[in-house]
Symmetry: C2
Subunit: 206 residues, 2 copies
DNA sequence: CCAGCAAACTGAACTAAATTCAAGTCAGGA
DNA sequence: TCCTGACTTGAATTTAGTTCAGTTTGCTGG
């Protein structure tokens, strides 16, 4: 049983405020385009104080990514747990994927835009720890979607094929949206959900 | 008729060599992880000489992206032009998408990993020009895939639905591969092609 | 054959942004 | 009260990309 260590934050910790500001800036303006010092200004502290909470700008980014991956996995589990039919579970998972707050949209965008960071080792201790955490979460998410498809194949909801490969394709479709989706754009999240749900079901079904 | 201006390079120009070195490094180690000076070393020139060819490191990156987008679009046109049936044309397009050299794999990877750069304006002249060029190519590619699906719907190969939305989904599947594909990995390009071709046809068909 | 010229190149500064250093301040518990 | 650790800071440092102020190279027309 893996137990997440609850990092106890002091009462006057600004960690959460920094994360929120970072998500907004990284999400809207992009990570490299965002000056680390600007985050400090927004939070109302000196630049140096940031290093009390994060080892580096990249460490903050990786933390945001881990947090979002963790949330996504948790939500997937919650929403698929008590559904019997794998087809219904798949629909529920997709619905849940698009049932997100505006800030979570930004987090998904950040995550998608910087996935490549997870591929190569980081120079510093804490960054590398956070990277490994994120990688593991990605693997877990892939494993769970694969298991869901496999369950559906065993039960006869979907024809039997390479579940892992299919999961990769399905996940790619689900997350690709965050590259172009903008709140107030030409498509609503509801429309996105319908588009992707339909596509996913076609891919895994007969 | 849009006419691409052929930029004539002097005979002792190292532009192509720089691009090749940059593609290899950006592709293998990642853009931010690659030191611009290292590229100069590999090519065998001083760091300063790089600025004779590119206004900045980012300008070089954007150039690589434009080049790859241009190649992809050209290839799509070549390969779909003289195919009658839209279903066959779609298959041909997907096949062509995975008929690439190792260096083109790297270019696609770079492109995918830095798509977000195309979203926000660039500070300098030439970078912005290159960004606009790339954006236009992305739009062109989307338009052509949309037109292909539309053609297939009119001719009765595919059921009639929102062609543009479907094209987005199909393209997402096709290009998502470059995020995880590695030469010598667990899947060959041929297997990838079959996986994605199958998925795409399921998505657009009855 | 040589002047002239543009393409190609260079070492030495410069700059911006992230990061480290060394030294505080503040709040709550013994 | 004072002590401790979480929290904060201004000043200095570092690093990588970039600019400056020219110099070299090889081709071309006279």
């Amino acid at each position: 049983m893996v137990q997440t260590v609850v990092e106890t934050e002091g009462p006057r910790s600004k960690r959460a405020v920094i994360l929120a500001a970072a998500i907004d800036s990284f999400g809207h303006d992009g990570y490299e385009h965002t000056k680390w010092a600007k985050i400090a200004d927004e939070v109302g502290i000196g630049q140096t104080a940031l290093y009390h909470y994060f080892e580096s700008k990249a460490h903050c980014l990786l933390t945001i990514m881990s947090l979002e991956l963790n949330r996504s996995l948790q939500r997937f589990r919650d929403v698929t747990a008590e559904v019997d039919g794998a087809d219904e579970a798949l629909k529920a998972a997709i619905t849940a994927a698009y049932d997100v707050s505006p800030r979570e949209v930004l987090q998904m965008r950040i995550l998608q835009n910087h996935m490549d960071l997870l591929a190569t080792p980081r120079p510093s201790e804490k960054e590398e720890v956070e990277r490994q955490k994120a990688r593991q979460l990605v693997r877990d998410i892939e494993t769970e979607w694969t298991a869901l498809l496999q369950r559906g194949m065993k039960a006869g909801y979907f024809p039997k094929r390479d579940a892992h490969a299919l999961a990769t394709v399905v996940l790619a479709m689900v997350v690709s949206v965050w590259r172009w989706y903008r709140p107030g754009g030409k498509m609503t999240l509801k429309q996105v959900r319908e588009l992707i749900a339909d596509a996913c079901l076609r891919v895994v079904s007969t």
